[in-house]
Symmetry: C3
Subunit: 196 residues, 3 copies
Amino acid sequence: MITKQKNKIIVVTGIPGSGKTTILTRAMKHLKTQNINYTHLSFGTEMFEIAKKEGIIKTRDQLRKIDTETQKKIQVKASKQIVKMSKKTNIVFDTHATIKTPKGYLIGFPEWVVKEIRPDILVIMEATPKEIHHRRQNDKTRTRDHETEEAIEEHQMMNRSATIVSGTMSGSTINIIKNRHNKINDAVNELVEVMK
Amino acid sequence: MITKQKNKIIVVTGIPGSGKTTILTRAMKHLKTQNINYTHLSFGTEMFEIAKKEGIIKTRDQLRKIDTETQKKIQVKASKQIVKMSKKTNIVFDTHATIKTPKGYLIGFPEWVVKEIRPDILVIMEATPKEIHHRRQNDKTRTRDHETEEAIEEHQMMNRSATIVSGTMSGSTINIIKNRHNKINDAVNELVEVMK
Amino acid sequence: MITKQKNKIIVVTGIPGSGKTTILTRAMKHLKTQNINYTHLSFGTEMFEIAKKEGIIKTRDQLRKIDTETQKKIQVKASKQIVKMSKKTNIVFDTHATIKTPKGYLIGFPEWVVKEIRPDILVIMEATPKEIHHRRQNDKTRTRDHETEEAIEEHQMMNRSATIVSGTMSGSTINIIKNRHNKINDAVNELVEVMK
């Protein structure tokens, strides 16, 4: 009957330019001062480690070239691995709800992954299309496609839908955080509250 | 081959201030004059009855404190109970597609519930964010958070997505009814048509 | 490890007036000149053929009158049939993500269909509500409901959600193509790229 205190699995999503990585890094630093620690994982890295160990591929670039069925199997194994790790530590992912590819939107967390991991909370980091467009133009470190504001809005809308699907499948709570212009501290504080 | 005449299960959703309870009450009264009767259920009450009978909790407030796995089991039992009741009577729920909590949006009808109940129709009662904001401010009987119109719009958008997920899982039809300012009778009539 | 070259299953969706049939026809003609051939199927026809062969119905109109459970079984059989056909040829569907009925939105690809077919790509053909409204008014060959632009926008939004659900269930990539006024060739070229 009593809710057991267990470690959390949190997924932080957001399109490029939403500021999710910056905000997550700050939130984790903040949480550390309160003695709340998270292990920050990348789903891609977990997949690569498994595929390499099983002799399927040698370099990370090859991950994209694996056939669909094998890829699924690796995704499920990586998910089980993550759940196992979560017995020992809080886990946070910094990832994508959908990924824009030349063929269209790829779902970041398909059913077979979501149902294994069953994250406690799915966070969506959002900003206005105008702000994201602006940030992407000023980001000299990456060569990012200069999408229109309309395309950015569409992408964020698709991501909301994608997290709702995951939530219905897994029971995860969905939290939308707005990273507003010049109010990054508000976003950090909101994320800290969610991850507490 | 011939479609069997069977009782209906209808779910009426809508965010606080959408007017769903008022409209549902009027629609049911209207339907009664046409000899169409519905049993009006609350999913929370059904869950509480089961949890109490099984000695898991004593008061309704404790429902929120049950651990996730036990909660799921109770949800599935309540769903089966409802399906059993639907053999004898039409059933209507007045509930939420998503519930706003301090940690984020909680899905009202997760997969394990939707797939048990398989409602015939999922109704979404909507109003403009402006109208909902206005109604909430004038509602002295409840202390409601005064969300911004932007937040209200977001919530309604999330609910649309959530019902689409349920519909894909269960085959339910999704009906959006607009409760427009000073046109409550139109909304009542639309709901009557859906529930007929 | 190596990705096997396999035939594709593509689903092209879009609301009436989006221009999806025109664009698909042109794209297929274009692809043929490049020696890429698709078999163009209708899910309804496949269902009808199965129901007729099994002696359940005689005319296509009766398809709508079959009870839900039998309908589901026919849908699953039609899906398996399509997957079998896809071993020999690329397949493309021209269909609806959701269908507007008097009772509300019906999901075009419910879970039991999507998980059988697992399309490679789900295309959504979109146009502005204004443009769709205009096209529907000028279409003298069909008697179409004259929906408001608001209703058209709602329908397109619901379809985006519906394809995201399918994508999460099946791993399909989702591609939104905008059929902009006087830029039909751009839309055709985009679809050609997707179907290549």
